[in-house]
Amino acid sequence: MEAGGTPLVRGVGFTVGRGERVGIIGESGSGKTLTALALLGLLGEGLRAGGSARLAGAPFDLLGAGDRELSTVRGRLAGMVFQEPMTALNPVMRTGAQVAEALRLHGPRSERPGRDAARATAVELLGRLRLPDPARAARAYPHQLSGGQRQRAVLAGALANDPALLICDEPTTALDVTVQKEIVDLITGVSDERGTAVLYISHDLALVASVCHRVLVMHDGRIVESGPVEQVLRQPEHPYTQALLSASDLSVPAPRPPAPAEPRTLLRARGLTRRYARPRRGLLGPRAHFTALEDLDLELRAGARVGVVGESGSGKTTLLRLLSGLDRPTSGTVENAAGDGPRDGAPGSGLQVVFQDPMGSLDPRMRVRDIVAEPLPDRRSPAAADRVAELLADVGLPAEAAGRYPHQFSGGQRQRIAIARALAPRPSVLLADEPVSALDVSVRAQVLDVLSRVTAERDMALCIVTHDLGVVRYLCDEVVVMREGRVVERGPVERVWEAPGHPYTRQLLDAVPVLR
């Protein structure tokens, strides 16, 4: 497969048997999505695939076929589910009609169901995929459904004609873990029940291990290793697979610093509540409120490592913004022993934040030296330049990095720059918002190790807000589990993992795929 003469994927060959589930593992840019798209002739313009791909039931080579021939395969013999459920459905068409579309496109014209019959079948399909109130979901427009519900609708369209092969391209990456588990269970259920072959593409080794029988590891457009899941995970042969495995495994916690003898309290939040006003319904209607966070207490001591875990909508990001002073609570207080939150124009507050998106948190128009020096009081002085050099060395970046712009760095490097900036004013508290969720598996552990080391060296309090339980397990001593703006459970990591006290915590822990 190549684009404009540059090969992107080379010499990829594999088979998927009836009822078999095969996973393709790889990081971004490995060519795993391209491989899947090529099978159904859905590559973007300017991309060409060579070679051959046969599918039982289709009397031609998929890679050589034209749009007319392939359209008889797509949706009938092979269905596909994509990564981003938020954009995978047509926003101006009712969900049911989109599911029904798959039913009305295939088979001899005379046997195709009418509009109403197809709609009825679509509702039935949505029900089988355990959408609550399928009739209503079918009448709804996509924006009225949640991400998980939309992904079920896409899945319903892909499975409508009972295809022999289902291709899933990171179908749950954009979803919460508990929803991920439900979707994955649906897929494996259908596969077991109807003998549907599944090609499952993911970056998540543990997830693929729990779904698939066989796995292909892709790296730089090639398959570097393949075999039964057990074998590849237990005795990986290729160095890349070995590296990937050890990087994915966050079950052995990072080295912990010795706890300070008498830890000072650095940050204390009491009864934090944040409500947002919803737009009024009608001129005289009551102002509706949405409570993002309700009555939360939190204390951060020197040397503490607290992980705040929750799914989307749990209020964890709101919490971080309140703690850092970027937003103000509706009620409750944040006491910061090192000074208050940022009043505009005030010098550093003793508290800094590392943000989620290492692209968005660095101003693309500034050089790294200016970015890292930004929180320093004397940004232009030679002392500041020395401090920047010191900080860059501390997070493992070369000194030349100072003169370059953010886009010249990889995601992992950019996150190191962000960490360096956060450390610049010598804060005593470091907050991190999903610091590794935008990064590839292989650099995830490195960035976490940097975070762990720098906070330990400075006896700082670290608070990580994340959806990723593995990160908390790896880095934190204490965990706070949040759901819908409230704390459902908190305690030492060890204890919560071994004996979760709240059913939701248990559900969350169960939903996370674990490498055996």
Partner: protein, 288 residues
Amino acid sequence: MPSSRTSPLPGRRGGTFIARRPALTAGGILVTLVLALALLSLLWTPYDPTHVDAAQRLLPPGGGHVLGTDQFGRDVASRLMTGARTTVFVGVVAVGFAVVIGVPMGLAAGMSGGPLSALLMRVSDFLLAFPALLLAIMLAAVYGTSTLTAMVAIGVASAPGFARVARAATLRVMAAEYVDAARLAGRTRTAIALRHVLPNIRDVVIVQASVAFATAVLAEAALSYLGLGTPPPTPSWGRMLLDSQELLFSRPELCLWPGLAVAAAVLGLNLLGDGLRDRFDPTLEGVR
């Protein structure tokens, strides 16, 4: 989360600048040409562009007059050059005015949000109901026709465009995490506006300026054609078109020159805008 999106196409490497950026190159050349003509006309034109000479009426191109003369015996080439000056002058002043009014308004609205932002949108919606042409006609009705009324009308009519573009771009920047980081770093609002917002909305403003300039050239030509722009005898392309329209039966090429000039200037500015937009496109950043 690691995405496995289709990796972006590798940029077309190699090749000259022209081959890689045809729109930018062509636009740049056309705009430079118009600017050069306008500047040159300040120093030198082949003849006095306003000199009327009955003996030299409607001379064909060639000979002493490269493009011939018009019905008053004035040299067409000289008038074309001086017309470029009028166009550039009106465009620069009008767009400058619109930038100075529009960008700070958009920036302020985008940074403060809430009621101010909403008010600005209302005002700019409202101003959309007064196109440049209508404003110019109203101004002309009260003050009589002059270059100034044309410039003010075009400037006022273009300002909402800048305000909207600047506001939208500012909202995007303000939503970025680097602004949060700057607040945590102790930057004041003014510092954030100057250090983070302005540099990051600069590109959109430049592109908008190029587009607004093209619109200004069109509006100026239309106003002069209607007799509401630059009054004679100062040459302007629109006026030249009006004068030559009556000769359409006998000397159609007299319409051609000012027509081509307007079209070339507008085309150049639009191409420049497109080219710059492509160049600045953040989605292409880092690919190269």
